[in-house]
Symmetry: C2
Subunit: 417 residues, 2 copies
């Protein structure tokens, strides 16, 4: 079995089986397996390993992968692991760990091939043959000047189709889009996707080549970002291990339930303002959940659209207004449609024309509010640097619950007393 298959098997196993399986793996392969594991599962295993063992399994791995494996360790244990490594390795890893995890520096590999521009392709081929195996996923050689500054790049595909006597500088491509070492990984993922890159050089502030990002690192970022949106919208941490221990899961979930308790109590205190109306006519209590429910669903449709638009960079200052007016109109149209339908159903069910009109009015208002809030809330959250995927849905639901209940019960109080 390949390390990545073992990693998959470990991820799909409950905690006890996972420990047993891990003991059965070949120590030679443990480094490669750790590198393939998702964060939460990897952290669980790494936290139980001795520093000596960790230093041994990470030997010979690429620096970005070692950084991934060691990142979660408490500081004292991490120092012990480093102490077991030889000086060169230690220096490399300390450099890799100095960059934030979600920046170009955090995901780049420091293993790459540089050549000079004034040599012929034949010389380069002879150099590569002498060197032997290239770093993993090498598709491009980087051309640097005497100060190691990046001046261009040449793909292997160009190299093998160029005549032997041609000089590199005559066939290389200028690198006008090297990635700055502090660029955010989400932005890097968008660039790779849009440009269909397979790899890209990373440079520091002096335009010196410091690393290389390959698409397989970016695929992980894309998957994680997308999972993050999906899981956050349900109030979950995207690192959460499917097979985490019960108490750990219960704890991580209860925070979000705590936020929702506040929402639910806020809605209940709105209803409480109308206790008098509710005590006079039970049909109002029976129907009062419908309008908030529809508002929540309609608003969350808009929120999902806006979160995606913000993530891929389609929504900006120039088109927010247009989008707001569009979603408001979508809300009005669907509000009108469902107001008529639900109003009709209520008139037939409860035989009360005024009650039907009331629920129709509340539905129209709430779906309009849902459309507007669905655009405004995620955009505002993003401006406040709060993750819209995490907080957007809950904030929207709170808003549509309160507005829905308030308008429905308020109209009922005015017109049915």
């Amino acid at each position: 079995m390949e390390p990545e298959d073992i990693a998959h098997l470990l991820e799909a196993s409950p905690p006890k089986e996972r420990q047993v399986l891990w003991q059965l793996t070949d120590p030679e392969e443990q480094g490669d397996i750790l590198e393939e594991l998702s964060e939460d599962v990897k952290d669980g295993i790494v936290s139980q390993m001795d520093p000596e063992k960790l230093a041994a399994v990470t030997e010979g791995m690429e620096s970005d992968d070692i950084a991934y494996v060691l990142r979660s360790l408490p500081d004292d244990k991490y120092q012990e692991v480093l102490a077991q490594m030889d000086a060169t390795d230690r220096h490399r890893i300390e450099k890799a760990l100095a960059y934030p995890e979600d920046s170009a520096g955090g995901i780049m590999s420091t293993d790459f091939i540089t050549i000079r521009g004034d040599v012929s392709t034949d010389v380069v081929l002879r150099y590569l043959r002498m060197r032997g195996e290239l770093p993993e996923a090498t598709d491009t050689l980087y051309v640097v000047d005497e100060e190691e500054k990046l001046i261009g790049h040449i793909s292997l595909s160009t190299l093998v189709t160029t005549q032997p006597d041609v000089e590199i500088k005559d066939v290389m491509d200028d690198t006008d889009e090297a990635i700055p070492v502090d660029m955010d990984d989400g932005e890097i993922a968008n660039l790779f996707e849009r440009r269909n890159w397979l790899s890209a050089p990373v440079v520091d502030a002096n335009n010196q080549l410091v690393g290389r990002i390959t698409i397989d690192d970016v695929v992980d970022v894309i998957r994680e970002d997308a999972e993050h949106s999906m899981m956050s919208m349900a109030g979950m941490d995207d690192d959460e291990d499917t097979f985490a221990p019960v108490l750990k899961s219960a704890k991580s979930r209860s925070i979000w339930l705590g936020v929702n308790v506040l929402t639910a109590l806020a809605a209940a205190s709105v209803s409480n303002m109308f206790e008098d109306t509710l005590s006079k006519m039970a049909a109002i209590a029976v129907l009062m959940t419908i309008v908030p429910s529809m508002g929540g669903v309609a608003g969350n449709q808009t929120v999902a659209l806006v979160i995606r638009g913000l993530a891929v960079g389609h929504i900006g200052d120039s088109n927010t207004r247009w989008l707001l007016s569009k979603e408001a109109r979508v809300g009005l149209i669907n509000g009108l449609l469902w107001a008529l339908i639900i109003g009709g159903v209520v008139v037939l069910w409860k035989g009360n024309l005024i009650l039907g009109a009331i629920i129709a009015g509340a539905m129209l208002t709430n779906l309009f509010v849902a459309g507007v809030a669905g655009v405004v809330i995620p955009i505002m959250l993003k401006k406040l640097k709060i993750d819209p995927a995490l907080a957007g849905g809950m904030a929207l639901t709170t808003c549509t619950d309160i507005v829905g209940l308030f308008v429905f019960l308020g109209l009922a109080t005015v017109f049915l007393q």
Copy 2:
């Protein structure tokens, strides 16, 4: 501006501006732009183009990209476009369009380089130099026998590090994992991610090489799959254009609102069964939304976890039981926690000990049910071949709404009459 930047700008523009911008683009570049656009936006533009124009802009594009551009056309218009093409192109595109869009055949490129095993690397290099430019994103050459059957592959990186006189068959890798042409694209994405592949050969049932899939196609699949989960969970189509016309958006959203109306009415008819109880004590009406709300949030956390686990292949028959018992226990623990808190709040707020006990009991029951249903519903939906990301959340909410209301109002009826 590069075609991909123009595509991004078009996607971020409202419909009218989009039409104007499209008119301003260079006809020479329109094919490349169409290829980069998301499906809904691309379809909108393609539907307004003449067949002659379409044939002209797609000339010289790779067959998988042409297939993407033309796929949405109505049959008669599509035939007209084909009629404008020369016979070779027509044949190529018809072949590409014969495969389902979401299969290996649908995303593969048919442009690749094959070599024989019994030649030296030097001969291969001379052949490549003579040939000139390689197909886009070529990182591997495929080794085939006289019958065009795939027998191995060699990466450019191996090619350039091998001595000139070595024969290909001595350095090539065996291809034991070629992709069958009918493999589903989600499965392909999982394979690429797990194996860190940059490209992979596609073979037909006779092991004949028919195409090549590169990671940039797979990145699109990964992004789409992840977006699909996120958007579906909010009841949206993942193809939906952020800047679609109002009526089109209203229509696509209203279907999901229609499903939710049934859910909301089902919940209301549960309350209706207890109209008598509700008319006796308005406090019950005030509090009755809390338990369903908490159940919905808790259950949707589990649903999100299970949907992700199903998508990445972590959840299968071997561990469903373990997961069910875990989520049930998580539900019981959080149920107990929030039962005590909400019970306490209600006792203090309404000064009624029995009412506090009733809401606590309903909360515990509903969060337990939410944990169980959160595992069972998505897994059952998947077995029934219904997309769990689409239907899971709504089915779960219906379940927790009904159970929450029924238990709370039922207990209230029994103990407060």
